[in-house]
Symmetry: C2
Subunit: 127 residues, 2 copies
DNA sequence: TATAATAATAGTAATGATTACTATTATTGA
DNA sequence: TCAATAATAGTAATCATTACTATTATTATA
């Protein structure tokens, strides 16, 4: 039985109010302004809960800590190899990719994650 | 200046001889049969080197340690949420996805990684 | 072939991200 | 209001990965 918690609500709202794909630690720093003695463990526990219940997305980028995304409508991500920035992309439909692959794969495909890597506009011009 | 090392060669060949996307630790266990006192640090250092020189691929799966792939021809991956297995998929061309996205994105897209998640055939039937 | 320069290694310590543990606090159904 | 228990704060532990350093292996050149 799941019980309400202010901390969980605070974490979810924090994540829904931003589009910068923060790490657990960045969320911790930010939520601490509202709940000064929230613990990092609480942040991690709730991020896992919110991910498992489909309220947020977890993104592994192979550069440092996992990122979290409060925007759950299916979309793709661009990750800058230079500055590590994670940016939303809405160019390619994962639903289409899933139906295409499902017809060929013997298992059950439930979701997909499409990541592009390269250099963002800022890093290109600042070079 | 890069110098040859038997250990690096052993790691590369080990990875090229299998299709199970092992973790650094699994590669360490396996390569240790040939080089009994290779160190885990050497395995990690060379996996990073081989990844950066494009000789192997690194895959982050958001379930445990990173996986490595000696098969570098572009392809997609299916990851079973139940048993963690990573399987190759050659259904969708990343090159096509990159050209599609490149026309729309202001930065420079260099490569892409497409992962599907769900339940593999084994886990479906064993349930 | 011997040698000097230095890249790579083994072994170990350190770091960073995440999870586990436990006594206390908050939520909620009766 | 109260009892049951989910969730928390704070801390310790774990897991994956990187850093450090003295020693060894590779390689270009004499």
């Amino acid at each position: 039985m799941v019980k309400y918690s202010r901390q969980r609500e605070g974490i979810l709202r924090n994540l829904q109010s931003r589009r910068d794909h923060p790490t657990a630690d960045m969320i911790y720093d930010s939520v601490r302004k509202e709940y000064p003695n929230i613990s990092l463990g609480t942040v991690y526990r709730n991020l896992t809960f919110l991910t498992e219940t489909g309220q947020i997305l977890r993104i592994s980028t192979q550069m440092g800590a996992d990122r979290y995304d409060g925007f759950v409508k299916p979309h793709n991500h661009f990750i800058c190899k230079e500055c590590g920035m994670v940016e939303d992309m809405e160019y390619i439909s994962c639903d289409d990719l899933i139906s295409e692959a499902s017809g060929l794969y013997p298992g059950l495909i439930e979701n997909c994650e499409l990541q592009f890597f390269g250099k963002c506009k800022n890093c290109l011009s600042g070079q």
